[in-house]
């Protein structure tokens, strides 16, 4: 079969779902803002200048960045042991547990976040239980609630790539480390973790990038009190005072940043080719 032919589905996919939408967004970001907040086609860089000038988005952006870093870190810490023990199970058990990890995807994301809403509300069982212990924590409308929702929502995206790289790990390497005197801790940091680097990076990218642009979770669990960059963009399109061109410029700026992160990450993964 002609190798070139195999490129076409991929190219078509990229064209339809990436190149065309991004072009549209780019055109919008270069257009003028009409009085109704939508657009008047044209060519101007004023939206980008408006982006740099007042810096009113800086706060939400820092929020997004912090939450993305925290979410990624928590997902890594929580997901690693899960992925590791998954990878060490016998084949049949592995497949069952893997299915359980993916199971939440069978339910709509919104529904699942609403479920958290019920758990996290002040009169929910979690708050009550904590109050009984003398801890008065407000989840809804606070960064903690948003963080819980984000970690919950993105954990599978961390577990799956971690699992994929740990599953390939030759366990005799861990035994070799023990044989040479390494404790569990040492063999983890010197052998297991470095050899799962591609999984760590892939999982982190898969969590970090979407969380950076998240708007559903902060809207629902943050109740508008946890401003995030993604929420800001969403409001520019669907909010009470729409401003499509500015929203488009913000979206493209975020995409530029994300691309930088991605390029760096891929370079790291490429360096760790020996894993495969």
């Amino acid at each position: 079969m002609n190798g070139r032919l195999l490129w076409w589905p991929g190219l078509l996919w990229l064209l339809l779902f990436f190149a065309i939408p991004v072009t549209i967004i780019a055109l919008i970001s270069l257009a003028h803002r009409a009085p109704d907040g939508v657009i008047r086609w044209g060519f101007t860089l004023e939206n980008y200048l408006r982006l740099v000038e007042p810096l009113y988005w800086a706060g939400p952006f820092v929020n997004s960045l912090l939450l993305a870093v925290l979410t990624t870190g928590l997902c890594l810490v929580l997901g690693y042991p899960v992925a590791y023990s998954l990878a060490r199970q016998p084949r049949a058990v592995k497949n069952l547990l893997l299915f359980l990890v993916i199971l939440p995807f069978f339910t709509n994301f919104l529904v699942r976040i609403y479920a958290w809403f019920i758990v996290l509300r002040p009169e929910g069982w979690l708050s009550e239980a904590l109050r009984a212990l003398g801890v008065d924590l407000v989840f809804l409308g606070s960064p903690v609630g948003v963080l819980i929702g984000l970690v919950y929502g993105y954990l599978p995206f961390m577990i799956l790539p971690l699992y994929a790289s740990l599953e390939r790990l030759d366990f005799s390497l861990v035994e070799a480390a023990h044989d040479l005197g390494a404790t569990r801790w040492q063999s983890f940091w010197r052998v297991i973790f470095p050899l799962s680097r591609s999984g760590v990076i892939a999982g982190s990218v898969l969590v970090f990038i979407p969380v950076l642009g998240e708007f559903i979770t902060p809207k629902l669990l943050g109740g508008g009190k946890v401003p995030m960059f993604g929420v800001l963009i969403e409001e520019k399109f669907l909010g009470r005072v729409p401003d499509w061109p500015l929203g488009a410029a913000m979206a493209l700026a975020l995409m530029g940043l994300v691309s930088l992160v991605l390029i760096r990450s891929f370079r790291y993964i490429k360096e760790s080719r020996w894993v495969g």
Binding site: E175, A176, L180
Partner: protein, 357 residues
């Protein structure tokens, strides 16, 4: 050669229903090159993993350098294992691989560097320290695995079929290399192999394993010349196995009836008249002579002949129920269908002490 380095006492290990190691008892002395020899699946790797600490025996005790080690974790045992698959760390260079054990011991940098250099020199890999394992040939990876295990100076080195993945030439070269290393370092080597020739050539002593049990322990000549069971006689080299019964005994000599034939046997085990007995006779210990010669013990008909250059292999029918395999390196012009005489030294025909069922 008296101090015991490794001792297994009645060690047993099951995986599910299968008894993989069956009441294994062994003593391996300090500084010895000891081999565990047996067919694939007989439990050699499991035995080695029990000694290294990766498997818990179900029963029995293990002693390393005189102290009980049955429940000590692998990282605290003074033994290093050279894995069958080498198990080199793919993300570390050759130097870093070799330095691993020393870094765990938190030795000073300078000392680590010096010892790694020496270890690489010892396995003749100086100059390749900066490479990654995947940039090395199989033989070189093998040497790195050796250097990594040797550099921490364990009192025992466990080697699991270390040459199994190498081609014949390289294997022979590495056999010599391993012997040299063992002589120079005076470390106890416990060497696992399924290659009987390798075990005979390299070992000071060896144990033959079969289905989780040790059948015989001894020096290579002891094992080869006096196999204790039919399995050993057959697995180590080749043997003609002859079933018969004792006609009469005179001191250490016995006359054994094998079908319609008779043979004299010199026995170091007590034999009784009428006792059934299995005799082993090595094909290369049988000499062919003209059938008329008076010193021929038996005569037979050459049924088949295989010439392979350095030796010729004959199938000789000596009676309706018995054929013998004979290996001869002499060029003697014998051809299929000829009658020949067969002779051997008295001590080459050995009764096997194993009890018959």
């Amino acid at each position: 050669m008296d101090e015991v380095s490794i001792e297994l006492r009645e060690i047993s290990k099951r995986f599910g229903q299968t008894l993989v190691v069956d009441r294994l008892t062994l003593q391996i002395y300090k500084g010895e090159f000891f081999s565990l020899l047996g067919p694939s699946g007989c439990g050699k790797t499991t035995t080695l993993r029990i000694i290294a600490g990766f498997e818990r025996p179900d029963s029995g005790e293990l002693f390393i350098n005189g102290s009980r080690a049955t429940h000590i974790p692998p990282q605290e045992r003074d033994v290093n294992l050279v894995f069958q698959s080498y198990a080199l760390f793919p993300h570390l260079t050759v130097e870093q691989n070799v330095a691993f054990g020393l870094e765990i011991q938190k030795l000073p940098r300078a000392q680590i560097r010096e010892r790694v250099g020496k270890a690489l020199e010892l396995v003749r890999l100086s100059g390749l320290g900066a490479r990654f394992p995947h940039q090395l040939s199989g033989g070189q990876q093998q040497r790195v695995a050796l250097a990594r295990a040797l550099v921490t100076e364990p009192s025992v080195l466990l080697l699991d079929e270390p040459l199994g993945a190498l081609d014949l030439k390289l294997r022979q070269e590495m056999q010599l290399e391993l012997k040299r290393l063992q002589r120079e370092l005076k470390i106890t080597f416990l060497y696992v192999t399924h290659d009987q020739e390798e075990a005979l050539q390299m070992s000071d002593r060896l144990a033959v394993m079969h289905q989780g049990r040790v059948l015989q322990v001894g020096t290579p000549p002891e094992i080869y010349e006096r196999p204790a069971t039919r399995f050993v006689a057959d697995f180590i080299g080749e043997s003609n196995l002859l079933e018969g019964h004792v006609v009469r005994t005179v001191g250490q000599r016995a006359l054994v009836q094998i079908g319609s034939l008779q043979a004299n046997v010199l026995s170091d085990i007590p034999l009784q008249p009428h006792q059934r007995v299995t005799l082993a006779l090595r094909p290369e210990r049988i000499h062919l002579c003209p059938p008329t010669e008076s010193n021929g013990i038996w005569t037979g008909l050459v049924e088949a002949l295989f010439y392979s250059g350095k030796e010729t292999r004959y199938r000789v029918r000596v009676s309706p129920e018995v054929t013998l395999t004979v290996i001869s390196s002499a060029v003697n012009g014998i051809s299929v269908g000829e009658r020949v005489g067969l002779t051997w030294d008295l001590q080459s025909l050995r009764p096997i002490p194993e009890r018959l069922p």
